[in-house]
């Protein structure tokens, strides 16, 4: 078997999916100090190059699509842009000695990790040795290439109208196929190694961004590679559109964490604070918007998970604040802008929850599990709002906490939770593989709940599920941005997977068959990396108490 049978496709990947974006990244770095500041790590530049290239290619295809021109014509604008940018790089960077635009930060551990991932995944290849959904995606890419349009006239696989799927990644594959003449399957196989590296790079940035510690970042990236996880850790599946979106999702966490670093001083008024934040973090906001657009046209769902993750962060911040006995001020937890955002979101959820229940006529059904499922988020929002207000009376605080805990623990299906560890106790699964399981509520109604077999059991046992407990311990022992985020996201994700009431509501609101992917928010590699670093620091302190 010729092991390098797809070697040429790697050259095309470099040209089509990195070169143009990387040159634009260098140009932006040479001109904008704020952009340069957060693209200093090599990972940030590579990812910037990748996503800009995807966006640029997508935009050119959109133009050709709207003019009803053949996609193979994209070589002209792409070539022009490439040569134009090369000339600009020479004129503005090389000639003006602005070499700081090329500089990047990397260390040997990260470099070796990425090299290892690339070599292993090059050797393993993509998941095309099985008849899986990857072929559905390749079929769509093939029809986009053949018809030269983002929306093939008669669907694609079976020749009948089909559901809309965000076409950016498929369009890029179609473009690669049209320009190179190499089959989509070969590209799919080759891209697996590249995107696997990009995903690990993005995860490093994410961990580094929220921890501000390179050791934690590197350890988290290593653990991301070796630990099982829900879907996202399947490196042989990296060429799927969802994994492109996961990569952008992690990059968004990195940029948003840096955005939070720019929170203005406490003394400022709300208006001053917001305008200062916008003026100092404009490039980060634009980057966040750009990455959101990439996700929206690639897989969509990760935008929701991004918002849910930071909302979970605010919940954890608020709850830890309400329990904290000291008066220590933690900017990542106690900043007044975060407080405003949190309260506003809670009020919006409560209003939306009531609207959703009224709109779906749940209020008219009488007392039922459906009604409970729809009212629970509203009641929880109100309780969280009350807890965010600092009560002078400890008694009131304890009472509200007890109600919150009663509601949360009362909504969990313990047979389902137990069946995570003992599959024999699993609830009745749905008809199709991806269908939800069915749990019976207090009033005998059927409620949806994610079946553990959906990658969840293999992804959560054991480091995943144990990391949620460890994250809460770390939040108590060492409250900071990382511990608040990982504890908040881990608890919220596990709660939605164990509570049929909350899961049923979320699936109804999102109208998304894979709502179980909320479990992607269990960021266990980061938790374990932080735990190891913290334990090691503690060990050093014990060895030398003066340190």
């Amino acid at each position: 078997m010729p092991i390098y049978f797809n070697a040429v496709s790697h050259l095309w990947i470099g040209c089509l999916f990195i070169a143009n974006g990387l040159m634009l990244t260098w140009l932006l770095r040479s001109k904008f100090e704020s952009f340069r500041s957060f693209t200093q790590p090599l990972e940030a530049q590579v990812l910037s190059g990748f996503f800009i290239s995807l966006g640029l290619n997508g935009l050119i295809l959109l133009l050709l699509n709207s003019l009803s021109l053949d996609f193979s014509l994209a070589k002209w604008p792409l070539g022009l842009i490439g040569f134009g940018q090369a000339a600009l790089v020479y004129a503005f960077i090389v000639k003006l000695n602005a070499y700081h635009a090329f500089r990047f930060e990397i260390n040997i551990a990260r470099f070796v990790l990425y090299l290892f991932v690339f070599v292993v995944l090059f050797y393993n290849g993509g998941l095309i040795d099985k008849v899986s959904d990857s072929w559905w995606h390749m079929s769509l890419a093939n029809k986009i290439a053949l018809e030269g349009t983002y929306s093939p006239a008669v669907g694609h696989l079976i020749g009948l109208p089909t559901r809309y799927y965000p076409p950016l990644w498929h369009g890029n594959l179609a473009l690669a196929n049209q320009l190179s003449g190499i089959s989509i399957a070969v590209f799919w196989n080759s891209l697996t190694a590249w995107v696997a590296v990009f995903k690990v790079m993005a995860f490093y940035l994410f961990a580094y961004g929220i921890s501000k510690n390179k050791t934690t970042g590197v350890l988290a990236a290593m653990l991301f590679v070796v630990l099982p996880g829900v879907g996202v850790s399947y490196l042989r599946v990296s060429a799927w559109p969802s994994h492109i979106a996961y990569t952008a999702w992690y990059a968004m966490f990195y940029v948003f964490a840096l955005f939070l670093d720019g929170l203005p001083p406490e003394k400022a008024t709300l208006r001053q604070a917001v305008s200062q934040l916008i003026s100092t973090s404009g490039s980060k906001l634009i980057t966040l918007l750009f990455l959101s657009v990439i996700i929206f046209f690639t897989h969509k769902a990760e935008i929701v998970w991004f918002v849910v993750a930071w909302f979970s962060y605010l919940i954890a911040a608020s709850l830890s604040r309400s329990l904290s006995t000291g008066s220590q001020y933690i900017i990542a937890r106690d900043h007044f802008l975060l407080l405003y955002c949190y309260r506003a979101i809670l009020i919006l959820i409560a209003i939306f929850g009531v609207w959703f229940a009224v709109n779906h006529r749940y209020l008219k059904t009488g007392l039922s599990d459906q009604l409970l499922a729809n009212l629970l988020p509203v009641v929880l929002s109100v309780i969280l709002l009350l807890l965010d207000i600092r009560f002078k009376s400890k008694m009131v605080l304890v009472c509200i906490w007890l109600v919150l805990l009663a509601l949360i623990f009362g909504s969990v299906n313990y047979t389902h939770l137990y069946s995570l560890f003992v599959p024999e106790f699993a609830l009745q699964a749905g008809q199709f593989y991806e269908s939800s399981a069915v749990a019976i509520g207090y009033f005998g109604d059927e409620l949806k709940i994610p079946s553990w077999h959906l990658q969840l059991r293999s992804g959560l046992l054991y480091s995943g599920v144990l990391s949620v407990i460890v994250a809460v311990v770390l939040l108590i022992v060492k409250p900071n941005r990382l511990s608040i985020l990982t504890a908040g996201t881990g608890c919220v994700a596990m709660l939605f997977c164990a509570s049929p009431y909350l899961y049923h509501w979320l699936q109804g609101v999102l109208n998304y068959h894979s709502t179980w992917r909320i479990s992607l928010m269990v960021f266990h590699p980061i938790v374990w990396a932080f735990a190891l670093v913290t334990l090691n620091e503690f060990r050093k302190t014990l060895a030398d108490p003066r340190a």
């Binding site: 093939n142 989509i184 399957a185 696997a196 630990l227």
Partner: protein, 213 residues
């Protein structure tokens, strides 16, 4: 004394965390797991030190590319191809055609006539006269319906002769390919004979030819 206790505690905590991480990381380094997964037809989603490109090469469509390229020039775009499950997906990803032999959640259930044909394994038993007549009738009805509904027309049968690709074994159309090739020529003509793939084009139908065979 307390410091020693604390040191021991930290040591055990570190050891426990590392042991858990090593335990969970094992699948990447487990050679037997690959064989076990292959025997159970389970996908190898995680990377493994022992999973080589040979699996992808022999159990993917790469070796059929020459055949696919030739076939691309011979077929009428926008038609429906009947093939085994795996080859159907390979064809959809590289040819300008549509397929109906797909997984249930990807549209197999959409057309009741195709669902019946595939679920009853009609095309696998063309050597039986009654089944052959049913298949013949199916072609007539399907071509008539697709014309009236302006949907893609069933025009080709693609037979994969490869014996190294385990994915092909999911379907009786591959297991009984010899019988299929022997009988399909009664309603079609051999358009292309390649190293791995044979393409048959369904004969043009006139009202009288429906009772042939």
């Amino acid at each position: 004394m307390r410091i020693i206790q604390k040191r021991l505690l930290v040591f055990f905590a570190l050891a426990a965390v590392l042991a858990l991480l090593v335990y969970d990381a094992r699948p990447h380094f487990d050679k037997d797991l690959i064989q076990l997964k292959r025997e159970n037809n389970s996908a190898q989603r995680n990377w493994s030190l022992f999973f080589g490109q040979r699996f992808v090469f022999y159990e993917g469509p790469f070796r059929y590319e020459d055949d696919m390229n030739r076939i691309r020039d011979l077929i009428e775009p926008g038609r429906i191809v009947l093939s085994d499950l795996a080859t159907s997906y390979y064809a959809a990803a590289s040819l300008p055609v549509y397929v109906r032999n797909v997984h249930r959640h990807q549209g197999r259930e959409y057309s009741s006539s195709w669902r019946k044909l595939l679920n009853r394994r009609t095309a696998c038993n063309l050597h039986q006269q009654d089944v052959f007549l049913a298949f013949n009738k199916f072609i007539d009805v399907e071509q008539r319906n697709s014309a009236s509904r302006e949907q893609p027309q069933f025009k080709y049968v693609l037979v994969n002769k490869d014996s190294n690709n385990k994915n092909l074994r999911l379907d009786c159309l591959w297991h009984r390919r010899a019988l299929l090739m022997e009988n399909i020529v009664r309603v079609s003509k051999l358009k292309y004979e390649g190293e791995f793939l044979n393409l048959y084009e369904i004969n043009d139908r006139s009202p009288t030819s429906a009772s042939d065979g």
